[in-house]
C-alpha cells in the first residue's frame, strides 16, 4: 500500500488511478472555485466551529453507538454494535454532508441549490438545509424513484423545494445526476450543486467524504469508550458509497479493523441484474470520475436492478475503487431477497426499522458473523431509517396500506 494513503486524493483529484475531473469545460471553473473555497475553509476554525455546532444542535450528533443485544444473541458470536445514523434529523447520514456543503454554498454567495436524489434521503437533507437558509432549491429524481419513494417526495415539497421528475434513460439515480449536471451547466453562475455521495468529479468525492467522516471519527472514540479497542469490522452498504466512506475513512490507518462494503446484489450478481459495480464491473468514466462501472461490451453504461432506490446506481465513488484494488476494504453483494429478510429480522429483533439500503449491510451479517468469535466487536453503520420504504416492502409482501 502506498505511504500517502491518508492523503488522497492527489492534487488532480485521483485516488490511485481512480477519480479525476471529467466534465464539460463549462463546469471546470465551478469545480475550481469549489476546490479553492474548500481548501481555504476546511481548516478554518470559524468554519469548523459552525459545522460542528450545526451537527450538534440541528442534526443531534453525536449519534449513539448502540449494543444490539438480541441480534448479537441471534448469531451467538461477536458483539454487534449499531452506529445510529438513522437517528439523525431527517433520518439518515445524508444530512452530515449537506450541513457542510450548504455552508460552502453560503460562503460562496450562491443563491440557488440543486441536488440529485435516489431514495430521496439526500433530497430531503438538501431541501432541509436550503430551507434553513432560505435558499431556492431544486431536487432531481428519477421518475421510477419518485414512484417508489413517494413519501420522501412529499417531504421534499413540504420543505419548500421543487422536485423535478426525470424520465430519461433508466429514470433512476444515474439519470437524476445527469439532469442535475445539465442544470448546473446552464445555471453555473448562481447555482451550487450539492452532490449527495462520494461520487462525481473532484473535489466532490473528497468533500463529501470529509464531511461524512464525522461518523468514523465518533466511532473511534465510542469504540474506545464502549469496548476499549478498535472494532474488528465495520460493515456498511455501498451505493455511491458515502455512508461507508464516512465510516471507513478515519479507520483506513487502523489495519486491525476490517472494512466491509455491501453492494446491492439485486436478483443475484451472477444474473447480471444488480447494482454491484465493485463486484461485477470494470473501470470506466461516469458522472465526472473514473471508477468501477457497470458497462456493456461496447462501453455503454448498463441498467441496474435493486429493490433499494439508494443503491440503484451503476457507478461507485472512486475512493472505494481504490480501497478495493489496494485490498484495504472488502466489497461483497447481497441480493434483494436477503436484504428484505434482514429488513424484517432487524425490525423484529431490535425494534429498529432500517432503510432498505442499510438492510443490505445487515444481511451480510449472516455470512460475516461466522468468521468471528465471542470476543470480537462488529459495527454496522445504520445509514438510515426505513420509514420511507414502508410502501415498497408492503407492496412486495402483498399488503395494501
Amino acid at each position: 500500500m502506498k505511504s500517502d494513503k491518508n492523503n488522497l486524493p492527489d492534487k488532480n483529484g485521483f485516488f490511485g488511478e481512480y477519480g479525476g475531473k471529467f466534465v464539460p469545460e463549462t463546469l471546470m471553473y465551478a469545480l475550481e472555485e469549489l476546490e479553492t473555497t474548500y481548501e481555504k475553509l476546511k481548516n478554518n476554525n470559524e468554519f469548523k466551529k459552525q459545522f460542528y455546532k450545526d451537527l450538534s444542535e440541528f442534526v443531534g450528533r453525536p449519534s449513539p453507538l448502540y449494543f444490539a443485544e438480541r441480534l448479537t444473541k441471534h448469531y451467538g458470536t461477536g458483539s454487534i454494535w449499531l452506529k445510529r445514523e438513522d437517528l439523525n434529523h431527517t433520518g439518515a447520514h445524508k444530512i452530515n454532508n449537506t450541513i457542510g456543503q450548504i455552508l460552502l454554498a453560503k460562503y460562496m454567495g450562491k443563491k440557488r441549490i440543486i441536488a440529485e436524489t435516489g431514495a430521496g434521503q439526500h433530497g430531503v437533507a438538501t431541501a432541509t438545509v436550503a430551507a434553513r437558509l432560505g435558499l431556492e432549491c431544486h431536487i432531481y429524481m428519477g421518475s421510477e424513484d419518485v414512484q417508489r419513494q413517494s413519501l420522501n417526495v412529499y417531504r421534499i415539497k413540504l420543505l419548500g423545494a421543487q422536485v423535478h421528475s426525470v424520465d430519461s434513460g433508466s429514470a433512476t439515480l444515474k439519470d437524476a445526476l445527469n439532469e442535475a449536471l445539465r442544470d448546473w451547466v446552464t445555471n453555473v453562475d448562481d447555482t451550487y450543486y450539492i452532490i449527495g455521495s462520494v461520487t462525481g468529479p473532484h473535489p466532490y468525492p473528497m468533500i463529501v467524504r470529509d464531511f461524512n467522516s464525522v461518523v468514523g471519527e465518533e466511532l473511534i472514540s465510542q469504540s474506545k469508550e464502549l469496548f476499549n479497542s478498535m472494532p474488528d469490522a465495520i460493515v456498511a452498504c455501498v451505493g455511491g458509497g458515502s455512508n461507508a466512506m464516512g465510516a471507513f475513512y478515519p479507520f483506513i490507518k487502523f489495519n486491525e479493523t476490517r472494512l466491509i462494503g455491501v453492494e446491492a446484489g439485486g436478483e443475484g450478481v451472477e444474473t447480471g441484474e444488480h447494482a454491484a459495480p465493485l463486484n461485477d464491473g470494470t473501470p470506466g468514466v461516469l458522472h465526472g470520475a473514473l471508477s468501477y462501472l457497470m458497462q456493456d461490451d461496447s462501453g455503454q453504461v448498463k441498467g441496474t436492478k435493486s429493490v433499494s432506490a439508494g443503491l440503484d446506481y451503476p457507478g461507485v465513488g472512486p475512493e472505494h475503487s481504490w480501497l478495493k484494488d489496494s485490498g484495504r476494504a472488502e466489497y461483497v453483494a447481497v441480493s434483494d431477497d436477503a436484504a428484505l429478510k434482514a429488513f424484517h429480522e432487524v425490525s423484529e429483533l431490535e425494534g429498529i426499522i432500517p432503510a432498505l439500503e442499510t438492510a443490505h449491510a445487515f444481511a451480510y451479517l449472516d455470512t460475516l458473523m461466522k468468521e468471528f468469535d465471542k470476543n470480537s466487536n462488529i459495527i454496522v453503520n445504520v445509514s438510515g431509517r426505513g420509514d420511507k420504504d414502508i410502501n415498497t416492502v408492503a407492496n412486495i409482501d402483498g399488503i395494501k396500506i
Partner: protein, 261 residues
C-alpha cells in the same frame, strides 16, 4: 494532410466561413445517416460531426439526448460507426469527419481509434474532458487524428491560453452556459471571448451550441471562423424519420450557408 486541417485552410484562403453539421450516427438508422451525410455535404456543409451515442450524455439537451437513445436502441456502437465511415468514404474522400462523444466510449474502444482503418476519421472531440487535455492524456493516441478542444464562456483567461494551444483541429467555442440546443446566446460575450481565443490559437475558432436560425448563424459567423449546427438538424431528422422525407434539412442548410457566405 489531415482532411480537417486541409478544409479549414482552404476556407481560410478563400476568406470563407466553415459550416459544420452534427448528426447522431444511427438515428434513425445507419443507412439513413449515410444518406443524410451525403445530403448535408451536397447542400453546402464543409465538415460533418458524427455524434457517438452514449447512455449518459450530460452535455446534451433533450433533442440530442433522445437521438442518442434512438441510436442506442439500434445497437449502434463505435465499431459500427467506423464501419459506417468506411462506407461513406467510398463516395466522399474529401469531407472531414469528426467524432463527437463521451470519454468512456473512446477509452473503452481505444483500439478502434488507434487503428482508424484507412484513415476514415479525421478528428475526435471529447465533450467531457477539460479543454487542455485530450485523448492522448488518457492513453488513446493516433497521430493522424487531430483533437478539438472546447472553450466555454466560463473558461478563465489563463486556461483559454493553454486550451487554445492544445487544440489541433479547431477550437470549439461553446456559445452559451448550457446544454446543446439551449437558447441564451450573448453575442457580446461571444465576440469578446472569441477575440481572446484567437490571440492564442493557431487553428480556427468555430462557434456552436444554441445556433438555430440563419440569423444566429450569420451573427456568430461574423465573430468566428465558422458555425456548428446540431440540435436543429437532429430535430428535423426526428420529424422526418417516419416518412424518410428530409428535404427541409436541405433547404435549411442552404439558407444557413447563404447567411454565412
Amino acid at each position: 494532410m489531415n482532411r480537417l486541417t486541409n478544409t479549414l485552410e482552404n476556407l481560410k484562403n478563400k476568406s470563407k466561413k466553415a459550416l459544420v453539421a452534427y448528426l447522431v450516427a444511427g438515428d434513425p438508422d445507419i443507412e439513413t445517416t449515410l444518406e443524410l451525410m451525403m445530403m448535408l455535404v451536397d447542400s453546402g456543409v464543409d465538415i460533418i460531426e458524427i455524434g457517438v451515442p452514449f447512455t449518459d450524455p450530460i452535455a446534451e439537451g433533450p433533442i440530442i439526448q433522445k437521438a442518442h437513445d434512438r441510436a442506442l436502441k439500434n445497437n449502434v456502437t463505435l465499431k459500427s460507426i467506423f464501419e459506417m465511415a468506411q462506407k461513406y468514404r467510398e463516395n466522399d474522400n474529401k469531407t472531414p469527419l469528426v467524432l463527437m462523444g463521451y470519454l468512456n466510449t473512446f477509452i473503452f474502444n481505444k483500439t478502434l481509434i488507434e487503428d482508424n482503418k484507412n484513415n476514415v476519421i479525421d478528428s475526435v472531440l471529447v465533450v467531457d474532458i477539460p479543454g487542455e487535455l485530450n485523448l492522448k492524456d488518457y492513453g488513446v493516441y493516433n497521430p493522424n487524428i487531430n483533437t478539438i478542444s472546447l472553450i466555454s464562456p466560463t473558461t478563465k483567461k489563463d486556461r483559454i491560453k493553454s486550451i487554445a494551444k492544445n487544440s489541433s483541429g479547431f477550437v470549439y467555442y461553446v456559445t452559451l452556459r448550457g446544454v446543446t440546443g439551449a437558447s441564451n446566446l450573448d453575442v457580446n460575450e461571444i465576440s469578446n471571448n472569441v477575440e481572446e481565443i484567437k490571440k492564442h490559437a493557431s487553428v480556427p475558432t468555430l462557434a456552436g451550441f444554441g445556433i438555430k436560425s440563419p440569423e444566429d448563424a450569420k451573427l456568430l459567423s461574423q465573430h468566428s471562423d465558422g458555425v456548428i449546427i446540431g440540435s436543429s438538424i437532429v430535430q428535423m431528422i426526428e420529424e422526418g424519420s417516419q416518412s424518410k422525407e428530409f428535404d427541409r434539412i436541405r433547404t435549411y442548410i442552404t439558407d444557413i450557408k447563404k447567411a454565412i457566405s
